[in-house]
């Protein structure tokens, strides 16, 4: 026996297994983060949800009324994960690299001293890594808080391994929107990473 959850997806009501619901929610959240910098992100998401509901409906019948993990995995494989479509999707990649929503925070392995956290933050906001390092050193001297923050960021921020990640790492020049976007994005990402 399993507990089911009822959801509204693309205007349709579905009963979905609890574990499948968790998976679906994670996937939709991933898409939401991916499209966060896009002009009409909510429209894209609702189009995708409508398509998912179509895929689900095609798999249900009078004898099969509940969405399972398998159905969610199937729908995800048909629609693809964000990394699949940034590989396929038109020249959008280039447009998005220069748009404020698309750059991400990574640890910079090329300029690191310890874990590349300060270098990565510096690359993200076009600051000299030493400015960030001095702030961290000051925080450490002021009572050790810097060490804890550094460790959390080290765990939460992935290392830039591929070239495209290294391009994403370097963002636009500093402006208020970039900073608020980045803070919000990173907050979401940290929360997500903590859960996993």
């Amino acid at each position: 026996m399993k507990i089911t959850v009822s959801i509204n997806l693309g205007g349709y009501a579905f009963n979905i297994d609890e574990d499948a619901y968790g998976e679906l929610k994670r996937y939709l959240r991933e898409l939401e983060l991916h499209f966060a910098g896009e002009e009409s992100s909510s429209e894209i998401l609702s189009d995708i949800e409508a398509r998912m509901s179509e895929l689900f409906r095609a798999r249900l019948s009078a004898y099969r009324q509940v969405i399972t993990m398998e159905d969610v995995r199937y729908a995800v494989s048909v629609l693809g994960r964000p990394e699949d479509f940034s590989e396929e999707g038109s020249n959008s990649g280039k447009q998005r690299d220069s748009s404020s929503g698309y750059h991400r925070m990574y640890r910079d392995p090329d300029r690191r001293i310890i874990g590349g956290v300060c270098a990565g933050i510096g690359a993200y906001w076009s600051l000299d890594p030493w400015i960030v390092r001095i702030i961290f050193i000051a925080l450490i001297l002021a009572g050790g808080l810097g060490i804890i923050i550094y460790l959390i960021l080290y765990v939460a921020i992935p290392e830039a391994r591929t070239t495209s990640q290294k391009i994403e790492m370097k963002g636009d020049p500093v402006n208020i929107k970039n900073i608020t976007d980045a803070v919000r994005d990173e907050f979401d990402r940290v929360r997500k990473n903590m859960k996993l």
């Binding site: 693309g10 349709y12 499209f35 896009e38 002009e39 009409s40 629609l79 693809g80």
Partner: protein
């Protein structure tokens, strides 16, 4: 150089052109557009299409209307706008030029 990457770049470059061509044959439902593009092996995952459709719509090349459906909630049908038709005609010309240039180079 990486063959897979070069091929992917080529396909990327023509994806918008392919989408506009499919829609130019009459108003189309997104799942039908997807099926055509998949059959032609231009896309692999469906998620690629949705942001592109929205971007094409935002730049005024496409418009859509809602149509009732017997199988479920209303569906979005996409159409080319006048601007979209001109844009596509331009792309048709440059595609022909490209094909010509490449075949000229290959024939030498």
């Amino acid at each position: 150089m990486d063959l897979v990457n070069t091929k992917a770049q080529m396909r990327k470059g023509i994806l918008e052109y392919c989408i506009l061509s499919v829609i130019s044959r009459g108003s189309s439902y997104s799942s039908d557009i997807i099926n055509e593009l998949k059959k032609a092996e231009v896309i692999v995952v469906e998620g690629t299409l949705y942001p592109l459709l929205t971007r094409l719509k935002n730049s005024g090349l496409l418009s859509y209307r809602w149509e009732e459906s017997q199988q479920g909630p209303p569906r979005k049908y996409y159409e080319l706008t006048a601007k979209g038709r001109n844009y596509l005609a331009d792309l048709d010309r440059s595609w022909d030029e490209l094909v010509e240039s490449v075949s000229m180079l290959r024939a030498k």
